[in-house]
Symmetry: C4
Subunit: 227 residues, 4 copies
């Protein structure tokens, strides 16, 4: 019992200390990966970007290992912290962490606190954007140069990602490789969940606005969440 | 404190006085823009429409400046009134203001007040329609004459806008230019949120109808909101 | 006041007396319209179907006129009973009335009453099916033989209607004529609303099932609504 | 009354005893069907798979017959247990039963009980996956070798199923045969309902997380349901 408390305290301290480095590493990972995918010719830039990517990944692994150690748990740690495990294996999902850092920044600067709905919208909106950008990068890496592909430029990939995450799905640009399609299915699942949160919150917020002050205040004065 | 109250009162008076002119300017802006986009040959009509567009835009700028002045805030005004700032920069979103004027008209004419759900549905339905029409105009302006475009007539653009805002997304008509696609992504995001409000309200209203009077009144007698 | 009550009573009596004839007329209208659209060669069958269609329409007009008369209202009747007015002008929406007759039948036969969610699901499920079938007929009538159409058989039209009402929107079959597209936009709007009710109720029902008896009864014993 | 109780008790005992055999039979049915569809050349494997499929089906029929007998009901059993009847006629829907067995397994192993939302998400997520896999198999069986089909491999069928169940609907792969399209319409309907449950629960869960402990615990510590 006492040991558990000590472990929890040490874990909390570790997490606090690592927050900024991990946030920076997430950003560097994403930037490095983007450079690696988008740079056409092999050059020094690509080499550096690859080093950045692997260094960030190593940092994530170290963080995971330390927290496993501190938790005092055996193999059940993998099961209990399934999300963290997934993020270590699929580090492209990591940058979503940036959203949390942004959230904390807002609090520190004494920003007028967003309403509940506003926070959900900002949180899931940012996650969706990051997920879309990351997914577009990953799918583009698979599709580039594949025979019969309709995804010729990175712009096409971003356009495809937007049409997918909003479930519009025009089908003018679609992945054709097994790798690209697998990532696409993951994006559909995550994107739907996040988008469901955004639209659900927006409609709740709108109903709240209308049910509150009828005629007291013109609705326009109530700024939408996130503005 | 006292100064703040005075500012608020002066702002309220200004907003009241400007409501009708700004509403008319919004309508003129949309009409002028539509004429500018849809008129084929350069002619006197197009010149007049351009003048109307810029005059309305100037009025929006003046309104924004006056309210900034009256608010007594510095640069934080831009941040606090982010929606207004966006509307000044992207005046195509302005016509959504017409919805508010329509709402106020309904009240003045002693119309039997709509239920909460009814108002949300009317409000977001109108906004969606306006957004669709405006978006179709803006995308059509980008796409017209682009090589390889499938959007040949303005009818195609409206058809595309409807399929996009409802997230059906057939893909028989799609934008191909970067400009058109950027506007399209904005439409997807806004449209989804608005549509989420419509469907959410409709389903809440339907459940309310069914949970109320079981057998007292046939459901058909309860007219749907907005009818 | 007294006159109003008399009017309401007379209206109620009229509606009760007309329920069965109007229900039958709705069914005949739909059947006649289907025969008219689907029969290839002009023949006696088509002539009879056209007569049935116009006779049903005439009955709807008579019903509307009588209720207008009984209501004792002037032109405001058109505005107050907007839904009825729409149904008279667009009689294809009429068959949705069959759902109400079905609902009443269920009650009379002492059927174990459906739960609230079950009724919403059955009600909107039936409406969606009818709307889809009617919409497929109407769009097929517009598209048949149009140059460049992808809707070659009525089966294609039904397939397109299903993909549209569920917002999947493959785009392998799409209307190309202005008339067909206008009907399609109406279907998207109605279908979305109805489908929102179905999914909203289903998810509410599922959450209710899970939050109720945890372990008391296996969830499978609770039959889904509408079964 | 007493007889009813006896029937219910006997039915419960039968269901308990049959749970594991029926679960195994469901799995075997799906596996056998998959082998039957995916094996290219007729061979001994296909013969065995067909025997497995029909044996499982026979077991379902026996179970249905015994429960009908035990219920002491006449023809009304078919109506009252409509879902079971559907499953007997369309045994491909049977494997969804595996989800229930999985749920019971979790309970027996003293797993930390999932929250309400978590259970709904896991339950409908698993059902959706199974439905998608089964639907892809069934549609692929119809489409394989059809003239003009775009569904050339089983991978295409799975990709199509994912795009359909999430309502993205690219349309790069679509069924063209009447049989395939009929199954597809069923998948759209079921998938929408299940997905509605997933997104509805996820957004409810997200809102709950945010409305709870503001600042007490960083949101990241709260693992998402199902992790």
């Amino acid at each position: 019992m006492d040991d558990d408390k000590g472990n929890a305290a040490r874990t909390a301290r570790w997490e606090e200390r690592m927050e900024v480095p991990l946030g920076i590493a997430s950003g560097l990972f994403l930037a490095g990966y983007a450079v690696h995918v988008l740079a056409r010719q092999p050059s020094g830039v690509v080499d550096v970007s690859l080093i950045v990517v692997f260094a960030s990944w190593a940092l994530f692994l170290v963080d995971y290992a330390v927290r496993w150690r501190l938790s005092g748990l055996g193999l059940s740690f993998v099961h209990k912290h399934l999300l963290d495990t997934v993020v270590v294996v699929l580090p492209l999902l990591r940058p979503v962490r940036i959203v949390k850092v942004y959230d904390r920044q807002l609090r520190r600067h004494g920003e007028p606190r967003l309403s509940l709905y506003g926070r959900v919208i900002v949180y899931s909106g940012l996650s969706t954007s990051l997920l879309g950008f990351t997914g577009a990068l990953a799918v583009y890496q698979q599709e580039r140069g594949a025979p019969g592909t309709t995804m010729k430029t990175f712009g096409d990939a971003v356009w495809w990602a937007c049409a997918t995450l909003t479930t519009v799905g025009y089908g003018d640009v679609t992945p054709v490789t097994p790798g690209g399609r697998t990532i696409a299915v993951g994006m559909m699942a995550c994107g739907l969940a996040l988008l469901g949160a955004v639209t659900g919150s927006f409609s709740s917020w709108m109903i709240e606005i209308f049910s509150r002050g009828e005629g007291q205040k013109p609705p326009e004065d109530t700024k939408p969440p996130g503005s």
